[in-house]
Amino acid sequence: MANYTERAKQSHAVEWLNDNAQVLSIALFFIACMGFFWALTDTFMTTGNLLNVVRQGAPVLIVAVAMTFVIMTAGIDLAVGSIVALINALAAILMANGFDWVTTSVMMLAAGAVVGLAQGWFISFQGIAAFIVTLAGMSILRGIALYITEGYSIPIKDQAGFFWLGRGTLAGIPVPAILAVLVAIIGFIIMRNTRYGRQVVAVGSNLEAARRVGMPARWIVCSVYMMSGIACAIAGLLIAARLGSGSSNAAVGFEMQVIAAVVLGGTSLMGGRGSILGTALGALTILIIGNGLILMHVSPFLTQIVTGVIILLAVWMNTRLFGAGFKLGKKG
């Protein structure tokens, strides 16, 4: 009678491509940028230059990893630049007052955690929109940095270990780069392979569902801001170590760089969807664009324009080429 047939089995390759479209897209774009700058400048592909890029990019990369967790919960942290500035300034002040760099660093990590927790508390336990809490945080925290430094850039002296953190190398690789890669790997594993990572995704995908299955939804939301605070502390310390000084002027506009890296990496601002690998590639792409344009002697008046256009292009490609989904040929 009737003619019952089963659907063709799904193709693993196609489904895999679909599931990883975002990361693939930014990976492709990243490689294209690399190729472009390699072809057009002598210096770009030199070890020295590449190591420079990863060292410079460490703070962005580290905070972008934490920001990925934040954005995965459908949140946002606009205060990262201000937290970095605050930590940066505080660290310098503490060291100027005789604390050694290890104590200072530990205290700064704790301070970052506290600041992040405070923001997270307002967001998760008081239910205020993350955008507005961290916008207020952005203003308050840089205000505090300003207040405690009175605008001075505070020199850091005689802390060889600390400077090594910002400028040193290990087996030829810049220490900040090593730190950044470590943070990214840990972030990657946490996001993909741990219960906490799963909880973050769940909360971002459907907060109420996460709550109903008994996840400590509020705590999870709160925790990502704490993580972000800690990541900012690391970034603030690295910047202080690199500059050899602390100032409230650090990391202005940093939040936009970080968020751009995360979004470029395919993480959705609506929450629930994203990846650390994408974020890392997004951050690196932004960094090499900045680096490459300077190497190409592009007029600084044009850099902002060109950077913006390239980013728009990257996301466009991401959406156009990969958004529609791969299709299997019409084999019926």
Binding site: M1, A2, N3, Y4, T5, E6, R7, A8, Q10, S11, V14, E15, N18, G325, F326, K327, L328, K330, G332
Partner: protein, 256 residues
Amino acid sequence: MSETAQRGGAIPPNSATPLVSLRDIRLTFGSHQALRGVDLDVMPGECLALLGDNAAGKSTLSKVISGTYIPDSGTITVQGEEVRFTGPNDARSRNIEMVFQDLALCDHIDVVGNLFLGRELNKGPFLDQKAMLARAQEMLEALEIRIPRLTARVEKLSGGQRQAIAIARAASFQPKVLIMDEPTSALAVAEVEAVLSLINRVKAKGVGVVLITHRLQDVFRVCDRAAIMYEGTKVAERMIADTNLEEIVNLITGGH
């Protein structure tokens, strides 16, 4: 076996031209073959039941008819004229209305606003809130649904109330084809009765109804014909008068 027969065949339609006629509709999501070549005719004044197991492709097929999904291949003919829908707007402008399985309500808009969504009444340049409120009352009464405050956002309404709103919306604007994807799944007894009699009413006016449902007893009360889907294909078609519950269940499960 001919191509057409392979696609589940079709009961030769009565003399009238079908309101909607699908031929060899195929649609693949990624590598998942949601529809593998489906033929379907919707005749005026008849209720066609679209039956099948979960994930058989019923909702997908009905979304093709309503212009929500664009098929990869196949043809759609509306009242004898071949069309290419580029979006729901095209279908709607040909009086094809649909009650979606996910209801497609705007949570932040009030009951009245949802009933008139996309068809707001104007008075000069402005919305005619009063007229809409009055008509909304009538629309809902026909479905025996009680909603205490028509200016409340639909967000907080109960599952059944929400479903009733979606039905009222689709049914109220003189559709020629009315597609209902599990419209009664969340409704209580009396409300189900109201929907079934609504179907009978619109049929009498010559509307072609496509009813997707898992409540087979309802099929026997209002439908004239049933198309059964299995794994993205249409495997059979039956006139309701010529079949019975057992056969339908067997067709759906494919004898499994």
